[in-house]
Amino acid sequence: MHTVTTTSPADERTLVTQAQQGDRNAFSELIRIHAQGVQRVVYRMCGDQQVAEDAAQETFIQAWMKLDSYQPKSSLRNWLYRIAVNSAIDMLRKEKRILSEAVEEMPLADGELGPEAAYIHEERAVAIHNAIAALPDASRAVFILREYEDLSYREISETLDIPLGTVMSRLSYARKLLKDELSQHLEVAYA
């Protein structure tokens, strides 16, 4: 588990200003602060670790190039998430949607589980992975930002630049698809 870097909003604003003036060290510090969030988002979007690593790097390179268009009144994290979602979608297009083929590279279950429990756990993890992978890109982005990054509907709306109603409908649609797809596992796990 990596240590989570905490920085006050004022410090972050200072780092952003310095980075906008071309200070690479300041930008490097911003990467350290937001690395884990961006890695999580791109991994959930791509479903493959290597592609996610590339997409995370691409996210920060894009952020560096677009840094002068960033307005400090909005959240840097959410601004980066927007770039991350787009980078992940671009990467998936380039990689011909390897998302559904990356199952064998999924992280292994906790070693403390017994063989049968580990098998069930892995089987469920694969099912979740495949169900998320099968979501349309637009719904998947909304779902990941809500379910895994805990963004509010308004934050998702601002991050993805879509109306609040669209956030709600995409989220509802994603959950319905996932519930249908995972119904069998849900019955076993929560019977």
């Binding site: 071309g22 690395a35 790097q57 390179i61 268009s69 992280p107 519930k179 849900l186």
Partner: protein, 198 residues
């Protein structure tokens, strides 16, 4: 049987309802087993999805190091061009003002010389008066216009020609100046457009 409120389930689950909506929805849940069942199923789904594992990514330090090595020099180069742009930015209205001054001077001089020529103060200069009223002169030559009418028609045509010419270049300069103001505004108020100008 109460109306189902499935559309509110997600907002309730995500804590997006205000206190009043929340209380109302909870009252509805008490009397609607279908909505309650749907809510429990969504909660189960959420719990199950939380189990989805994450791989061990490269550390933030490693990611920062990898990215820093690949960073193009864009912001610094942009900053340099930006400062040059800022330094030379005032040249645009200054150049427009200079053009306006030169053209105004030429026009006023031309008018003065033309007027002096009319009153015989200077010899007639073809540059200013030679073909000032070609069309009306032509009409007079073919007898299509009476000599009395021609007397005021010829200077009128010359006047209109000068007026139109003056208006055209003044409007052109005004349009350029307005464009400069629009770009200046966009540069300062719309960062995303600003990037396009660079």
């Amino acid at each position: 049987m109460p109306d189902h409120k499935f559309e509110l389930l997600n907002a309730y689950l995500d804590g997006e309802l205000n206190p009043q909506q929340r209380r109302k929805f909870e009252a509805h849940l008490d009397g609607c087993p279908e909505c309650l069942e749907e809510l429990e199923s969504l909660e189960s789904l959420s719990g199950m999805l939380a189990e989805a594992p994450l791989p061990d990514f490269s550390s933030p330090e490693q990611l920062a190091a990898n990215v820093t090595l690949q960073l193009p020099r864009t912001p610094q180069r942009d900053a340099a061009s930006h400062s040059f742009f800022n330094r030379s930015w005032w040249l645009a209205p200054a150049a427009l003002l200079l053009v306006w001054l030169v053209l105004s001077t030429l026009t006023i001089s031309g008018n003065l010389i033309g007027a002096a020529s009319e009153f015989g103060l200077v010899p007639s200069l073809s540059l200013f008066a030679g073909n000032a009223a070609n069309y009306t002169s032509l009409l007079g030559r073919f007898g299509l216009v009476e000599p009395d009418t021609l007397q005021w028609l010829v200077p009128s045509e010359a006047f209109m020609r000068q007026l139109v010419t003056n208006m055209v270049w003044q409007v052109a300069l005004a349009m350029l100046y307005l464009s400069w103001i629009a770009i200046w505004w966009a540069r300062n108020n719309r960062p995303e457009l600003n990037r396009q100008f660079r």
